[in-house]
């Protein structure tokens, strides 16, 4: 048994040497043949790199929403029904927020949010449309919007509807340049606000800067920009020891109560969470995945057929050699293996070149979009190329292995 295995090892080694010699003797042909494989591997790898890059950047972008935080709103983030179903829903109000805050036990913190878009002016500089977020003091934790310096809005600000503002770094840079904004007055629409704090940099959300923002007390927002008909969104940050699903169930029960829903009524509000976006993202990128796989698959198929063709040529050219090897005692499996190894080596060569090209391409691509090359992908590409070689080398190799030694020797 041990002898047999060692024998097989030697046959494998011999196969590698023969294959290597055959490749060296036909360098141009081998490299032309691998082109299909190279293209296939480059396509698949680049696709994968882009998708991996998108995944990572998507996760980074939605991470600010918080895995443990859910958002109670009139509209769901992702829907497939008709919009009119949502448009007639009653709004989420500050009153409902107060009640939810009162009753909920699974939450670490809970904050109301209301949005408007207004212009912001400092002296002669005006920003046309800045996102104005009205909220309360605890939103610093719920929405991870801590001030970098200065202070955040407080409950006292909120109760007395003070005109104080915490501004994002984009607003600071564009309105104040190098000046320290703390204590200076800006105008939001026509109202004068005092800057009390600067937010930590928030980053992007799909191309939109989240630093083009001004946070003010929610009561001030209602007073200055209108209360009636304004949607409120409730951000609830769950306790660490409470599962998000349980948190959602609790919120749902309380909200149904405060919105007077009967047992059989459908929810007329949405409890949104990060996961909904991930799910949507997955369905969108599923298409890209499929397209990538199909394109890559076709290239590899074309490459594989190229390999098969060249291996058939190689088998025909070396018919005499096959006869000789059989005449001196090569078994069918020895010959089979010899040509399989050759096909796999050609393909792995193509796979390796493909990976290197894809990696170089990925570096360029990174300038324009997120791209990641995980090590396993490189390994998988080379391995997969070997499998292509194995599959498409099988027919030529079997043809060689089945040859009659005498007929083969006559081919000289």
């Amino acid at each position: 048994m041990g002898r047999k295995i060692r024998g097989a090892g030697r046959a494998l080694w011999e196969g590698l040497i023969i294959a290597n010699n055959a490749l060296m003797a036909n360098k141009t042909r081998a490299s032309l043949t691998t082109l299909g494989i190279v293209i296939g591997v480059v396509t698949v790898t680049l696709m994968m790199m882009i998708i991996q890059g998108l995944n990572k950047s998507f996760q980074d972008q939605i991470s600010f929403l918080g895995a443990k935080t859910v958002y109670v709103q009139r509209w769901p983030w992702v829907w497939d029904d008709d919009w009119w179903k949502y448009i007639n829903r009653p709004r989420v109000t500050m009153d409902q927020y107060e009640q939810l805050r009162e009753r909920i036990v699974g939450a670490e913190e809970i904050s109301p949010m209301a949005w408007t878009g207004r212009s912001a002016t400092y002296r002669d500089k005006t920003l046309d449309r800045v996102s104005i977020l009205g909220t309360q003091q605890q939103h610093a934790i719920v929405g991870s919007t801590l001030p970098e310096y200065g202070r955040y809005i407080t409950d006292i600000d909120d109760r007395s509807a003070r005109r104080v503002a915490v501004i994002g770094v984009d607003v600071r840079d564009r309105l104040f340049g190098p000046l320290d904004p703390i204590g200076r007055n800006i105008r939001i629409a026509s109202k004068v606000y005092t800057v009390v704090g600067i937010l930590e940099e928030q980053g992007n959300f799909f191309g939109d800067s989240r630093d083009n923002i001004i946070i003010i007390p929610i009561e001030t927002l209602f007073t200055d920009f209108g209360r009636v008909g304004r949607d409120v969104m409730i951000a609830v940050k769950g306790r660490d020891d409470v599962a998000v699903e349980d948190l959602v169930d609790e919120i749902r029960a309380i909200m149904r109560g405060t919105r007077n829903l009967k047992p059989l009524d459908e929810d007329n509000f949405a409890i949104n969470r990060q996961e909904a976006l991930s799910d949507l993202y997955d369905t969108l990128t599923g298409g890209i995945y499929a397209a990538g796989l199909i394109i890559g698959g076709i290239s590899l198929l074309v490459g594989g057929i190229g390999i098969m063709n060249i291996m058939l040529v190689s088998v025909t050219e070396r018919t005499w050699e096959i006869g000789m090897r059989k005449a001196i005692g090569a078994r069918t499996t020895h010959i089979l293996w010899q040509f399989l190894v050759e096909a796999m080596m050609i393909c792995m060569l193509g796979g390796t070149v493909g990976i290197l090209l894809a990696f170089a391409g990925g570096q360029l691509l990174k300038q324009a979009m997120p791209a990641v090359l995980p090590l396993w992908l490189a390994g998988a590409a080379v391995l997969f190329s070997a499998v292509v070689g194995l599959l498409f080398g099988m027919f030529p190799a079997a043809k060689a292995a089945r040859m009659d030694p005498i007929q083969a020797l006559r081919a000289q």
Binding site: A11, W320, I328, G329, A330, D404, I406
Partner: protein
Amino acid sequence: MSKIIQLEAISKIYEIGDIKVPALNGVDMEIDEGEYVSIMGPSGSGKSTLMNLIGCLDTPTSGTYLLTSENVGEMTDNELADIRNRRIGFVFQTFNLLPRANAFHNVELPLIYAGMSKDDRQEKVEYALEKVGLQDRMKHKPNELSGGQRQRVAVARALVNDPSLLLADEPTGNLDSATSYEIMDLFGKLHSSGNTIVLVTHEEDIAAYSHRVVRLLDGRISSDEKQEPRRIASSTVIASA
């Protein structure tokens, strides 16, 4: 002496389309261990066909072939391959060496298929190349060797796995007469050291070195005679070719 080859009513018929070409037509022959037989006959008389059957490279259309009393007709492909590998050494008219491999590697091939370890291979290949007087040409490729040297590499390859039977189909057919005599000298020595040899030739001169001459005509044995072999003039130093 024990019989190494027993052929009984062997026929081989090639079919090309509708035409049947009988290459061998009822051949009976026995060869003992240690014999040195030459097979003669005009071109197309079936010599190569017979050699290929004896060498387990081909199977007869009818008849039985016993190799050391084992029925070759009942063997699997793998068993036939192993017999060609271990028990038969075949020398071809056209050498059949791998052009890109050196002498050492060419001789090593059968041992690789036998699954032998590298150290054992090294020893056996060196010994075989020494036997044919090419110990100092191991790293040479076929195109760096003379015709006679190439054929000696082929003989070394046939010998390397210590086969009980050495077959050669017109081994001197591609060599000039001086070189042919060197090869015959080598075969004579191999025979003296105990090898059984069957050799195809159409040159009386070459057949004269053997102990028995079998003549074929149209696929049948026309004569089978023992003879006193011609002596090799002197034991020339083979390595100098």
